[in-house]
Symmetry: C2
Subunit: 312 residues, 2 copies
């Protein structure tokens, strides 16, 4: 096929946010969704100017949502990370994938006579407790083993109507088999993944296998695809928009990664802002090979401070 040169789509120019762009953004947007690592903090240090910028946005009445795919803690549990870094945040502003799992079950009116089997840690339990959803598994099954004898069958609870799989340092064969039985044999049983991240940051010293491993195990034995509720799932955006009564265009995704944060925001119909304080360089953003273009970009979040203060 011969491609006519004039018909080739030219990528739209990506421009660094000016003060006018920032004021326009603040005028249009009522809610900011922040990816944390690379935007709010880097490792164990808050990025310069972030606390003041968050305060200024709050004074303008903006809703702030801090998104994390960490499911090992509840929103309340994750608050400690913010507090330890000197960030004044409410638990309700944190959108952890453990919370997303509980919110998803609530959104589908998960029956009160059913329960959840958890592959995961305490964060999911705490969020289910807050929604009054019954559960089993999780940390209670951390040390369980299967003692094989001829004719042995692992019994499983027929009341399990959903399996939630989150990151689990204590994954074992007992949990894999239990989850597999529930998903395969309990009619209508949901298979919910908090996220599919290949890697997670247990320590700064190396990358650690993430929840992609736990979900991969259950996918491999059930041949089923999970419903993903954390980033980059559509459910999270729908849930945030409904909670605050906002249109998608009134929400801005702020992130440091093009292929996750910005793409996720764009696919969900949000405004998008890239910050260069994380993994993406200006060179990579402006490269002709990059096809993901945020609405605007800036060096770091605190570049919004002046515009926010002057709009107050």
């Amino acid at each position: 096929m011969v491609v006519n040169a004039t018909s080739v789509t030219t990528a739209p120019p990506v421009k660094k946010a000016t003060e006018d762009t920032k004021r326009a953004l603040l005028g249009k947007v009522d809610c900011f969704i922040f990816d944390c690592d690379g935007v709010i903090w880097r490792g164990d240090s808050v990025i310069d100017g972030v606390p003041e910028t968050l305060d200024a946005l709050r004074k303008l009445g903006k809703k702030l949502v801090f998104v994390t795919n960490n499911s090992t803690k509840s929103r309340k549990g994750y608050l400690g990370k913010f507090t330890s870094l000197g960030l004044d945040v409410n638990a309700e502003e944190i959108y952890s994938s453990s919370y997303a799992a509980a919110a998803y079950l609530e959104s589908i009116n998960f029956p009160q006579d059913k329960k959840v089997y958890i592959v995961g840690e305490v964060g999911i339990q705490e969020e289910l407790d807050l929604k009054g959803i019954r559960y089993c598994g999780g940390p209670d099954d951390a040390d369980k083993k299967i003692d094989l004898k001829p004719g042995y069958a692992l019994p499983h609870d027929e009341d399990v109507g959903a399996v939630v799989v989150g990151f689990d340092r204590h994954l074992n064969y007992y949990k894999i088999q239990y989850a597999t039985l529930c998903i395969s044999e309990n009619p209508g049983c949901h298979f919910i993944a908090t996220n599919l991240d290949a890697r997670t940051h247990l320590t700064d010293a190396q990358e650690w296998a993430g929840n992609g491993a736990m979900v991969g195990a259950i996918k491999g034995s059930t041949k089923r695809e999970p419903t993903v509720v954390g980033k980059p799932a559509e459910f999270m955006l729908a849930n945030i928009a409904t909670t605050f009564g906002l249109k998608r265009s009134q929400i801005c995704m702020v992130g440091d990664r093009l292929d996750t944060d910005i793409l996720f925001g764009q696919q969900g119909g949000l405004s998008t802002m890239l910050v260069l304080s994380g993994v993406t360089t200006e060179q990579a953003l402006l490269s002709p090979e990059n096809t993901i273009h945020p609405d605007c970009y800036t060096d770091q979040l605190s570049d919004l401070l002046e515009a926010a203060q002057s709009a107050a």
Copy 2:
């Protein structure tokens, strides 16, 4: 789109093997590859007439290969199953996926100064020992835990040049992270799966999560696809054909499953025979919805006995 009725492909008729068909098969084929469950035995019972039929085929000089995706035992270890059922078989006639992993590494001239990290059980260790291939992991890592401290990194051996993932009742996060590090960080490290079976038969009382779970975990954290060496991988057929110096058409796959055994045989260019002593019924085979047609089918393996004896 309007489909012209005359252009619709008609499925070839599937005919039950006559004595003539069987004689022709025995004349053409020098090696039989048997799926075991549903062909040789059902659960813990040998299917009627199988020992005599195997003897008759051996007397005709036919090579016999018994295929199993069970990687927890070596060929020698798996021999016990045959012996306990009164079947007189040599270890060399058994093609276990644990052996396939070792044979694959040998086929790629796996360097002597490299070693294998095993996610799996003793069968893989024993087969690697027989090929003189060094390894670590496996049962030795069954009870290992990761003690997380700030700044902690799990050290891994840079000499690991391949990760072999087989069924492992003692899968844990240590093994997942170790395998992930080797595959992601050791240049050129191979990722080998003995098989991808979703389910396995640890006991007859229920279906158990299979090696699909273990491989799924490592796929989920590495985002890499493994080289599969057991059934239904091409490697196994190539290896059997090379070992015996046979053309593909001289090999017949005998199985009880259309979508695994027969399809696998056809894709590999083998002759194929379905037996109805396992999971496939004659009705399912002859159904217009079935598109997988073996070269011939028969009720059970012992239907070959008369033709084999008369050919002797």
